[in-house]
Symmetry: C2
Subunit: 247 residues, 2 copies
C-alpha cells in the first residue's frame, strides 16, 4: 500500500486555512504521546490548548500526569482538534498534527508571553497556572493531516500551521494594549467579527488574542478564530485590518 | 517520580462503573496509534466506536487511513472517550483506554455479530460498512486511566472494562429479537430508562444494544448507556431486569 494513498486531495490554500482555524479555535484537544513506562504504548488524553504568537500550539500540563512524564522522555506527540457536532461524528472536519514538544522554562520571556495569552483564552486556569508542578510545552508542528469530512483528506507540512511574518514580535509587544483598546473602546467589534466571519451568534464576544495571522474571539465557553487572508507584515497594519474587517 | 503518583485515588466500583459508561456511551473517540512510516511517531485521529458483546470496544476503519496502516504494523493503541461539555473542558470526565487491536476477518461469526451491533448504533454507516477496504478491529483493553475531573484520577485494569458473565453468548443470540420486541411492544421503555437512569431528556429513545451488563439507548445523535449494577448471569434474567428497571 502506498504511503500517500490516492484518496488524498491536492493541498490548497483553502485546506490550509481550514486546518489553521481548526487548530487555533480549539479550547481543548486530544494529545497522544508514547508512554515510556509501558515500553512505548500510545496514550491519549485531553489537554487545554493555547497558541503562541508564531501559531505553535501550547499545552499546560501537570508533572504528575502520564502525558507530561511521557513527553519528558519522548518529545514526539500528536494533537487532534475539531469538535464533534450534530449528525455523523465523522462528517465534521478535524485536524491531526504531529509535533515535537519543547518544555518552556519559567522565568523566561517565552513563558511570560505564553502564560499571558493562555490566561486570556482560559481565564479559569488562573486557579492552577502557577502551581509548581504545572508546565507549558510548546508543540512544534512537524506535519499534519486534515480530514474535512468523508473523502476530503489532505496532507500538510508543519510550516502550513505556523505564522510567517516579520511582525510577530512587534505585534506580540502591543497585543495586550490593542486587545484592551478594542474590548473597551469598540466593544461591539468582536461580536461583529464573530458573526460576520465565524458564523457565530450572540453579542457578548470579546477579543482574547491578536497575532499576525488573525484574531481569537471568545464568548463564554465558545472560542472562534478569525484568520486573515494573509498575515500582517508590520505591526502598523493591525489597526487598518481591524477597521477594514469591521466594514 | 513515582510511576503511580499519589494523586491517584483508590479505584472503587463507582469509578469502574463511570469508566464503563464513558466507554460504552461514546459514539466516537480519539484513537492514538504508532505510525510506522515516521519511525514511531504517535498519530491521533477520530473513529466511530462500537462495543462487542463482551464489552470490548470495536472500530470500523478504512485500509487507506493512517490509523489502519499503523494498527496493521503495531497493534498497540489508545482510545479517549468522554465528551467535552459546558464550562472548563477538563472538568468533564473522560477515559483513556490502552488496547491491543485485533483485526476481525470477514465471513466469521464475530464479524457478523460486530457488524449487526455496529449498524444498530451507527445506522448511517450502512453507506460504507461493506466497502471492501473497511475493516473492523476489536480493541482488547489492557489498562485504563479514568479522569473524573480535577483531582479525581483512577487507574483501572483492562478487565474492569470487560463484561464477565456466563450469559454473554446466550444473550447475544437473542439480542436482536429482544430489542425488536422492546422497541415495538414497549416503545416507551427506552425513553423511561434514558430519563430515569441516564439523566436524558426526550421521548423518542430506542434500545440499540442489549448485553449482559446493560442496555445501549439511542435518540437521534445521542447515545446513552444504562449499566446494570451487576451483569446478568443467565439469559433468562434479561426480561426480569428490564421489567424491574421499568419500575
Amino acid at each position: 500500500m502506498a504511503e500517500k494513498p490516492s484518496v488524498l486531495r491536492e493541498t490548497d490554500d483553502e485546506a490550509r486555512k481550514l486546518a489553521r482555524i481548526l487548530l487555533r479555535s480549539a479550547r481543548s484537544a486530544a494529545l497522544a504521546v508514547i508512554e515510556p513506562a509501558s515500553n512505548g504504548f500510545p496514550f491519549v488524553s485531553r489537554v487545554l490548548l493555547g497558541i503562541d504568537t508564531d501559531g505553535s500550539p501550547v499545552i499546560l500540563v501537570s508533572a504528575l500526569s502520564t502525558h507530561t512524564q511521557a513527553l519528558s522522555a519522548d518529545s514526539r506527540c500528536s494533537l487532534l482538534s475539531g469538535e464533534v457536532g450534530k449528525g455523523d461524528p465523522l462528517a465534521h472536519p478535524r485536524l491531526t498534527v504531529q509535533c515535537e514538544a519543547e518544555k518552556i522554562e519559567r522565568g523566561g520571556a517565552a513563558h511570560a508571553r505564553i502564560r499571558t495569552r493562555f490566561l486570556r483564552r482560559h481565564p479559569k486556569s488562573e486557579l492552577y497556572i502557577d502551581f509548581p508542578d504545572f508546565t507549558f510545552f510548546r508543540l512544534q508542528p512537524v506535519k499534519a493531516s486534515l480530514n474535512g469530512g468523508f473523502g476530503r483528506a489532505y496532507a500538510l507540512d508543519g510550516k502550513d500551521l505556523l505564522i510567517h511574518s516579520s511582525a510577530i514580535d512587534d505585534l506580540a509587544a502591543m497585543e495586550e494594549r490593542a486587545i484592551e483598546h478594542m474590548n473597551s473602546d469598540h466593544p461591539d467589534a468582536a461580536s461583529r467579527y464573530a458573526q460576520v466571519y465565524c458564523k457565530a451568534e450572540g453579542t457578548d464576544w470579546r477579543i482574547c488574542g491578536l497575532d499576525a495571522a488573525g484574531a481569537d474571539l471568545a464568548s463564554g465557553d465558545q472560542l472562534r478564530r478569525l484568520e486573515y487572508d494573509a498575515p500582517l507584515q508590520s505591526a502598523g497594519e493591525l489597526r487598518m485590518m481591524l477597521v477594514k474587517l469591521y466594514g
